[in-house]
């Protein structure tokens, strides 16, 4: 095939044909130190494995993982889909912090040291970087993550002022990637705590002027595994790839529980 790479981001060009003839795109080598787990080939022990691949200017960590999978070891397993930070599939621990692999640019990491890549903490590992998301979604489902209304539906839309809409805007951004919940030391201890993501999604409805279910949700979150277990550690806020002010949202839910004002 006689196609030429024109673009600066040759995300799949690991072939020698690229050969550096263009010279326009800076390339550099990165080493990934990946926490692996494969019960079929390595039994019940996780282990570390290192891979070195060549990266280009705008490559993301996801591109490097793809290079490993596509050119070196096809058995390396991880989830991904949209590859630009909106689907929430590829949350993982990158150099000890929860990030989406598709939102971390390799050039922003220190290339002199191996980049450590691990599965999310606090959720059961199923294979390599793939964790069991069911406990996470179970907590989400428990907080009634849907609009609750009473009476007849209006003929047209429900009215809501721009200010009322703004009140819960931040928490509508959640993509359920679990980066927050699995960064929370309280969640790590026993996995019983609802976790930040569930509370974020409760917040999204509690502060929606159209919703009538706030009292029920607050009752659910008043549980001993509910909001009171939050120790305002801010790991969740730091981990959120959508920039949601999660700790603030949790504080607002706590306050609503006391004041019953929402």
């Amino acid at each position: 095939m006689s196609t030429t790479m024109q673009s600066p981001a040759a995300t799949e060009s690991t072939q020698s044909s690229a050969g550096g003839e263009v010279g326009a795109v800076p390339s550099f080598d990165v080493t990934l130190r990946i926490r692996r787990y494969n019960v079929e080939t390595h039994g019940d022990e996780a282990y570390w494995e290192e891979f070195t691949v060549t990266a280009y200017g705008t490559d993301r960590l996801l591109d490097a993982l793809h290079k490993v999978k596509w050119d070196v070891d096809g058995s390396l397993s991880f989830r991904r889909s949209c590859a630009h930070g909106v689907c929430g599939s590829d949350a993982m621990r990158i150099n000890g912090r929860n990030r989406l692999a598709c939102k971390v640019l390799l050039k922003d990491l220190n290339p002199d040291k191996p980049i450590t890549v691990e599965p999310l903490k606090g959720l059961p590992v199923m294979k390599d970087l793939i964790v069991d998301m069911e406990p996470f979604f179970a907590s989400y489902r428990e907080i009634m993550p849907f609009l609750v209304t009473g009476g007849n539906e209006p003929t047209r839309e429900r009215l809501q002022s721009a200010e009322q809409r703004e009140r819960f805007d931040d928490t509508t951004k959640c993509i359920l990637c679990a980066a927050c919940t699995s960064s929370c030391p309280v969640f790590w201890t026993d996995g019983q705590y609802f976790g930040p993501a569930a509370i974020v999604n409760a917040h999204r409805f509690i502060f929606d002027s159209r919703d009538d279910g706030a009292a029920q949700r607050l009752e659910i979150l008043n549980d001993k595994e509910g909001v009171w277990r939050c120790r305002t550690i801010f790991n969740c806020t730091e981990a959120c790839p959508r920039g949601i002010q999660i700790t603030k949202a949790i504080q607002e839910v706590k306050r609503a529980m006391i004041t019953r004002a929402f």
Partner: protein, 609 residues
């Protein structure tokens, strides 16, 4: 193997699938099978909005919306379907609001609306505010809202299950099933990703809502997982694919990356400029300029680059200029896409124009359906119990070029229709017996692929496919380029016979999954190219430089592509399974036929903006 039985099985859990599930599950026993967790579906990446003539901010009506849709599709739209969509758009938006979708609001508290490409007042007079939106996250909000409603209504999901075959009462690939004969669906075969186990789902109705196939191209806004699965599964079972040569290239992908920057950027006032700083769309579409439909804008951009007016060191992109907009306005209306520019290109859109270039975005074609969502197996007969909605389907509301926002509309209107129709049919229908050894073909192919000791890597074949499609079947096409693409695909199909996966395991074997997906991509790419070669005219998203005019006398008709046994028996034969429902390169031909376009109100006119 595990066997399940549901009245309705919905394949895919994006917008169309979940909208269908909400209707079906309240009527009858329903399961949704998805290769992803529902909230990972690519509906969530849609940005700009969903059009409906609510007339919340200015005069509008559904007839204008119908006209724009027909004209936008360069008159290849089935006008009855477009009218259904434009009329039902209003309730579709109101339904979502009642489900809780957080739309942006007008000062009066109503759903706010903004301008979008090709949507006009009174048949093209000027751009109209028709798109209902939630910042530049409308798709995200739709996906989340539909999932929330599925949680509320206890919809049953089989997540990370990959459907690999659809079971029919007849083998349609022979081409020998008579017109009028009753053909029915009896279920699907799925592969559970976590365990490698095979599941048989018996069903009276099956709804395909599996999305698009953007990964046939290298530069695409589509997710890694959009590999044309549903289209290819139907095609392999002898069901035709309609109008596959029409692929939409979205004008504003981040240059070099293909990541989508919503048309809303231009709806909010953004301007495309070439290397001279010229607002070049004034030359190509003097009335609505940057808000011309996507096919026109994408071609104009590619033409600017081709004629040497591209920007950047390699002069290979143009610039999307937002610098004249207030930063607060950008933050309120376009927060995500400006964040993409910062994250991935290091560009600050407040002060710098953003490099953009067309990116493969949307398949206008797909599995043919009527306006109830019933799948057609020829120009008139439906497959009993089989439905399709969303990007996988071709109803055809998009004709040869989809207008922006009409995909979010399509999934809601026709997802709902398909869900209702599938459930109502299932309630009254008898069970159809599944074939003998229903999973046999799938198991054989999986085993063959998993056990091939060594061979070429899947990723390399896929990369070469994507490169040839970008080079030869993109915005500009010629007979020569398409013949090159077709020859390349034939060679790649031969290579595909010998790819092997390294992961031999059963647990989350995504290596194997990618190999299967590649088979689908190759099938779909071939149909796209064969259709494009055959259509010797330029219409909508399909532009032939050797036939630059629209030819209504010759081609005002839908292409119908069928998989039929190869005419020549001298093709190379391998030990690969070659029955219906499997990837069997070389043992089948693509046979083309046509279907008339349904016209109701609008006579074709020259398409000027």
């Amino acid at each position: 193997m595990q066997t399940h039985q549901y009245d309705v099985v919905i394949v895919g859990a994006g917008g169309a699938g979940m909208r269908a599930a909400l209707e079906s599950s309240k009527r009858t026993r329903t399961a949704v099978i998805s290769k992803l967790y529902p909230t990972r579906s690519h509906t969530g990446a849609a940005q700009g909005g969903m059009c409906a003539a609510l007339a919340n901010v200015e005069e509008d009506n559904w007839e204008w919306h119908t006209f724009d849709t027909v004209k936008g599709g360069d008159y290849l739209v089935d006008q009855d379907a477009a009218e259904v969509m434009a009329k039902e758009a209003i309730d579709a938006v109101l339904d979502l609001e009642k489900m809780g979708l957080p739309f942006n609001r007008t000062p009066e508290g109503k759903i706010d609306q903004r301008r979008f490409g090709g949507h006009t007042r009174n048949h093209g007079e000027a751009a109209v505010r028709r798109s209902c939106y939630a910042a530049d996250r409308t798709g995200h909000m739709i996906l989340q809202t539909l999932y929330q409603q599925c949680v509320k209504n206890d919809v049953e999901f089989f997540n990370e299950f990959y459907v690999l075959d659809v079971l029919l009462s007849h083998d349609l690939t022979t081409g020998e099933v008579a017109d009028g004969e009753e053909v029915a669906v009896s279920g699907v075969v799925a592969y559970e990703l976590a365990t490698g186990e095979i599941h048989l789902f018996k069903a009276k109705s099956v709804v395909f809502a599996t999305g698009g196939a953007g990964k046939i191209y290298k530069t695409t806004s589509n997710a890694q997982t959009l590999t044309g699965d549903g289209m290819a599964l139907a095609f392999r079972r002898g069901i035709p694919l309609e109008d596959m040569e029409f692929f939409q290239f979205h004008p504003t992908g981040l240059a070099g990356l293909g990541i989508l920057l919503s048309e809303a950027a231009r709806g909010e006032g953004g301007i495309l400029r070439n290397s001279d700083g010229e607002r070049f769309m004034e030359r190509y579409a003097p009335t609505i300029k940057d808000l011309a439909p996507r096919d026109i804008v994408a071609r104009s951009m590619a033409n600017e680059v081709r004629e040497g007016r591209g920007a950047g060191p390699n002069k290979d992109y143009v610039l999307l200029d937002l610098t004249h907009l207030e930063p607060a306005h950008i933050d309120a209306k376009l927060p995500d896409i400006t964040e993409f520019a910062r994250t991935y290109l290091g560009i600050e859109p407040y002060t710098e124009p953003v490099p953009v270039y067309p990116t493969a975005h949307y398949a206008m074609g797909g599995v043919p359906t009527n306006i109830l969502g019933e799948v057609l197996r020829n120009n008139s007969d439906t497959v009993r119990g089989l439905y399709a909605a969303g990007e996988v389907a071709c109803v055809s509301v998009h004709g040869s070029n989809r207008l922006g926002t009409n995909s979010l509309l399509d999934i809601n209107v026709f997802g709902k229709r398909a869900g209702i129709a599938a459930a109502e049919y299932a309630v009254g229908a008898d069970w159809v017996e599944t074939p003998q050894d229903p999973e046999g073909g799938v198991v054989a192919e999986l085993e063959r692929m998993r056990t091939l000791p060594s061979g070429e890597r899947v990723a390399h074949v896929r990369r070469d496919l994507q490169n040839t499609m970008d080079a030869n079947a993109q915005v500009f096409r010629t007979e020569e380029s398409l013949r090159q693409a077709l020859a390349d695909i034939a060679a790649l199909q031969e290579r595909y016979r010998h790819v092997s996966v390294q992961d031999k395991g059963k647990v989350f074997n995504t290596d194997l999954l990618e190999a299967l997906e590649l088979g689908f991509l190759l099938d779909i790419a071939e149909v796209v190219v064969v259709g494009a070669l055959n259509r010797q005219e330029s219409r909508g998203g399909h532009f032939r430089e050797d036939f630059p005019q629209r030819d209504d006398a010759g081609y005002m008709k839908h292409t119908m592509a069928y998989r039929r046994p190869a005419a020549s028996g001298d093709r190379p034969h391998s030990e690969a399974p070659s029955g219906p429902g499997t990837s069997a390169p070389g043992t089948f031909d693509i046979v083309l036929d046509y279907k008339p376009v349904i016209m109701t109100r609008y006579e074709p006119m020259e398409r000027k903006y």
